[in-house]
Structure formats: structure tokens, C-alpha cells
Symmetry: C2
Subunit: 330 residues, 2 copies
């Protein structure tokens, strides 16, 4: 920066102001800009953050970057935060709470303006770390009873219950559930819980549950899970899957066996992934607005940052919509 200042014949402060877009005469601004371009000067963000006491980072932690649901959420966050001059520090927890804790600790070192987490289950140390740091927190994809700070999401339990009611309304009584074997995917567990609560409420058979495959359960797990379900309960009329991915795998297994979907067996998914709209038969699912969760979270973050210096109030919980999307498969 000294080099730029020297070349432009001004002080460092003037260079700093020009870069920040603050008041400066047009002539000065131009000379400084010319010097910047000539030298290819790029300001050091670490020095800026240290000096001003505020970084431009927002930390985002998702369980898996390869799930389109979560990468859509990241896109939504990007769309809102980037225009504010904020940068995303993205981390992938791999569904592991310990890894989340390590990543939170690591990201805290960069003094992020806010931290966006997925879900509401965190280690005690993670919560303590966040509380102590004083950094605003948004929990996404769930509506925890006691959020750390802010939350943007929906009740996976209730969304799953709605799908059960949809299937029951279609006349199905013997309904199965296909989910992952691991308890780490809390949203998956909540959907299973919703299945169990609603089948009980409706007086339906609650036992037809197959849990198979590590989080995140992918389409590869759908087929063996379906096979297992059919071998244990051959008279099953409808199957609800923890996601469209597993539903797709399940439907493929049905096709291999010559079972018609939905004539012989109905199959429903969850999450409204692109595959469910394209495949044949198309998959009845629950749409959840993954991108919108990111957007809303971004808006909550911007509001919280504004409130910090403006003294305004912040929204604590934002409920995002979900809806059963009837298609061909159920």
C-alpha cells in the first residue's frame, strides 16, 4: 500500500479510503486507481480484519457438500450474502458432531461475523464455544425447541407426518419406511419419528421400518433396503423413503422385480430432488425449499449484523414451507 501511495503521490490513508470507496476528490481517486492497476496491488484481508476488528467471513457448516439439498442452501446463502461483501467459509462436517466441533473451533479463529450450522444437535463443547464467542449463530434445516440463537427451517417430524397422511388418504394401510442405519442424520431420524407418530395416530402398522446404509443414505442404498422390506413384509402397500435418493433406488429395485409402481406398490420420497421430477415414474415427494432456507438464513444474518450496530431486533425462528408434491409413484 505504501508503494501505491508513493506512486500516486498521496498518503497510505488516501489509498485506503479510495479502496473503501470513501470521500476523495475525483482527481485523486483516479491517480490512486491508476497506481493500483499498474502495480497490481491487492489489499491484504488479514491486515484489514486485524485493524478494523471485523472480518468479512460468514462460516457455514453443512453435513455434506455433495447433497444437492445442502449445496442449494449454500447457493441461497451466497446469493444473499455476497452482495453484502461477505464471504462464505464453507465446511463439510460429514455428519459427524466431533468434526463439526473441530470445524467450529477452526472457523472461530477467523472471527466470522456469523456462523450458520445445519441442524440442532451439537456437542456440548460446540455450544459452549459458540456461546463464549458471542458470534451470531443460525441453525438451519430444523426448528429446535431451544435454538442457540436464530433458526431457519421446518419440522421434519411434521413434514413426514403429512406424507403418511397423504399415503393413508390414498387408501394404503400397510405402509413401510426406508431410512439410514446411522443416528447421525438427525433430519432422517426426525422423519422416521414422524412416520412412527402418524402411523400410530392413524392406527396403522408401525413396524415396517428398514434402516440400512450410512448417512447420507444415497440411491445405492434404496434397492437393498427395498429388497429387505419386501422379504420381511411382502404385503406392504406403500413405502415412504427418507429421501428421493433412496426412493429412486427403491423404485429401481421394484422395476427389476417386475413390480409396478404405484399399481403394485406405492413409493414416496422426501426433499424434492431433481431426480424425482425426471425419472419414470416420477416420484411423489415433500418439497422443502432448500435454496429458500439458505436465502432466509442469509437474510437473518444480514438483519442480525444490522441489528448489532443499529440496535434493531432480530428474528429468532423462521419457519420455511414444505408441501407434499403428488406425482406418479404414489
Amino acid at each position: 500500500m505504501s508503494d501505491v501511495a508513493r506512486l500516486a503521490g498521496v498518503s497510505k490513508m488516501t489509498v485506503s479510503r479510495v479502496m473503501a470507496g470513501q470521500s476523495a476528490s475525483e482527481a485523486t481517486r483516479e491517480r490512486v486507481q491508476r497506481a493500483i492497476d499498474e502495480l497490481g496491488y491487492v489489499a491484504d484481508a488479514a491486515a484489514g480484519a486485524l485493524s478494523s476488528g471485523r472480518s468479512s467471513f460468514v462460516a457455514v457448516l453443512v453435513p455434506s457438500l455433495s447433497s444437492s439439498n445442502f449445496s442449494d442452501t449454500v447457493s441461497g446463502l451466497t446469493a444473499v450474502l455476497e452482495p453484502q461483501g461477505l464471504e462464505l467459509l464453507i465446511g463439510d462436517t460429514d455428519y459427524l458432531p466431533d468434526r463439526e466441533e473441530r470445524l467450529v473451533r477452526q472457523m472461530l479463529r477467523h472471527q466470522p461475523r456469523c456462523i450458520a450450522l445445519t441442524g440442532s444437535r451439537h456437542t456440548a463443547a460446540t455450544r459452549a464455544l459458540l456461546q463464549r464467542s458471542g458470534v451470531p449463530v443460525v441453525e438451519m434445516w430444523d426448528l429446535p425447541a431451544e435454538p442457540i440463537d436464530m433458526a431457519v427451517g421446518f419440522s421434519n417430524v411434521n413434514a413426514a407426518r403429512e406424507m403418511v397422511r397423504y399415503l393413508a388418504d390414498k387408501g394404503h394401510r400397510r405402509i413401510g419406511f426406508l431410512g439410514g442405519a446411522s443416528d447421525l442424520d438427525r433430519r432422517g431420524i426426525d422423519r422416521l419419528k414422524g412416520f412412527q407418530l402418524e402411523t400410530k395416530a392413524l392406527g396403522l402398522d408401525r413396524d415396517r421400518v428398514v434402516r440400512l446404509g450410512e448417512s447420507p443414505i444415497t440411491m445405492s442404498h434404496g434397492a437393498p433396503a427395498m429388497a429387505e422390506l419386501l422379504s420381511r413384509w411382502p404385503d406392504t402397500q406403500a413405502v415412504m423413503c427418507v429421501s428421493d435418493m433412496s426412493a429412486f433406488g427403491a423404485i429401481m429395485e421394484c422395476q427389476r422385480r417386475g413390480l409396478r409402481v404405484p399399481a403394485d406398490i406405492a413409493v414416496a420420497g422426501f426433499g424434492n430432488f431433481e431426480i424425482g421430477a425426471c425419472c419414470h415414474p416420477s416420484i411423489t415427494t415433500v418439497s422443502v425449499d432448500a435454496y429458500g432456507i439458505g436465502q432466509r438464513a442469509g437474510e437473518a444474518i444480514v438483519a442480525a449484523l444490522g441489528a448489532a450496530d443499529g440496535g434493531g431486533r432480530r428474528t429468532v425462528k423462521t419457519r420455511t414451507p414444505y408441501a407434499v408434491v403428488p406425482r406418479e409413484s404414489a
Copy 2:
């Protein structure tokens, strides 16, 4: 840090050394650690970077985070770089060179130890920026004739040619190609180029090309593209798609029309996505080791960082393997 030092009864320097894992007596180390825990002290990364002159960031730019190919590459990078204490600064260029330029400029502000880019097409300004910065660069997913610095990937042109030969060996003469309409997906363009070169070399019809949909072409585009191809060249025997995603959409369209794959028409994909292995019929494809590209890129980065202080040599180009994977669809 002063607080920790005071509480532990040592100097700031000792605290710094304990945190860096440098020489310190066991007793001191323990007292300092206790103070750190008690105060919940988290070191400021910006100050550390400023002082030491080196950050712990590696910047990674991919065209799209929601493509499993690229998120697999990011996983590969993470697996290698995280154990080295490096952190990924991930950016999504959305296939736009201008956006890439903006992101490169932004990431350069954080003084990354290395920058990993996707592909070999960049704006002149991007190249200039990178050259001036002196930061090591890895270009992934391609083998440019003149890499900026290092490169890890394979020739998409040659990989596509191999698929054409595979289809020709199966006896197909009238082969079509389904790709995206935009020129931004350079890997897609290279695959099309490979298709055209090899069909010409084999004396086959080169005109059966349908380009439809923005980058990245997804499964939703496969169906209309297939429909277009069939309406223009109804006697097509085999179709090669720019990715498994579009191949899947194309196959769905065939099923809707009652066309049997591969009996009536063969369909091949590219990239070995999970869907190709699960769906029915399973999709013949070209496997490309997306995760391995990330790993190798990570190793190249570690080597380059080591070479910087060790004086060793760095690998310039790393060729990653690809192979036609015969399945049911072609």
C-alpha cells in the same frame, strides 16, 4: 493472549509457543493449557497470518458445487490438505469466467498458500492476477497445453474419442451427441470436440449433435435433447451424452416413447455418476476419478509448498486415469 499469559504466569511468547506445539517444559505447557481452557481462548488467525506472513488457506474454485463430480474433487482435496493444517476457501464460479476472476481477486486478498482452479480457460486478467501474485496454481480437470503452473486432470477430448470407438465397436454407425448449449462448460465442449474428431476419423456421420440447456446440463435437459435428436434423425442408433445426468434424462425419454435401451437405441454417458450405476438400465459411461483429481491436486499442492522452502522440484502435469465402463445402456 495477554490474558492467558497473565493467568498462566508466563509471557505471551510462551503462550504462542505452546499453541504452536513448540518447545516448552511440561509444567509450563500444562499451566498454559489450563489457562486457555479456562478462558476459552481462541487465537486470532488474521493476526497470526499477518505476523507470520503466511495464511493457512488454500483457495479452491469449482464451476458448480452441486455437481457431484466437483464436490468429490473438493472431498479429495480436503482429505489431503486438512491433515496438513490447511483450510479450504471454496468458491463457486457458476461456470462464469468473470465470476472466476472476481473470486480469484477476492481470494488473493487472503494470501492463500495455493489456488486450485477448474479447467484451463480463464480471463486474461485472471491469469495476470495469478502470475503477479506468485501464488502456486493448480488447474484441475484438464491438461492444458500451457498450464499457468501445475495441472491435474485428463484430456476430455481423448476420453470422448474412446467412447466413440466403444460405440463404433458395438457396430453403431449413426451416432448422436447430446450436450449443453453454452460454451462455458469447456469440458463439455472438449467432449463434443472429441466426438467430432473421432466420428470423422472413423468415417461416421458427424452432424447428429443437439446442444440444449445451460451449463451445467442436468438430467432435466436430457429428455428434450433426446426428443429433438429423435425428431431430426429418427434412424440414430446410439447416443453419446456429455454426462450421465443428461444420459439419464435421455433414457427416461426413451422409456416414455416405448423405445428400448439399448435394443432400439444405445445411450452412453460420461463421468460415472452414482445414478448411472443404480438406474435401470444402468448407464455405460466413462469413469474419471473425480475424487482422485482432488487428491492428486492436494498432493501437488503439498509438494509445491514443501518445495518452496526445501528447494525441491514440483510436478507440472499429473495425468489422471479414465476408462470406458460398459454397462447395460450401450
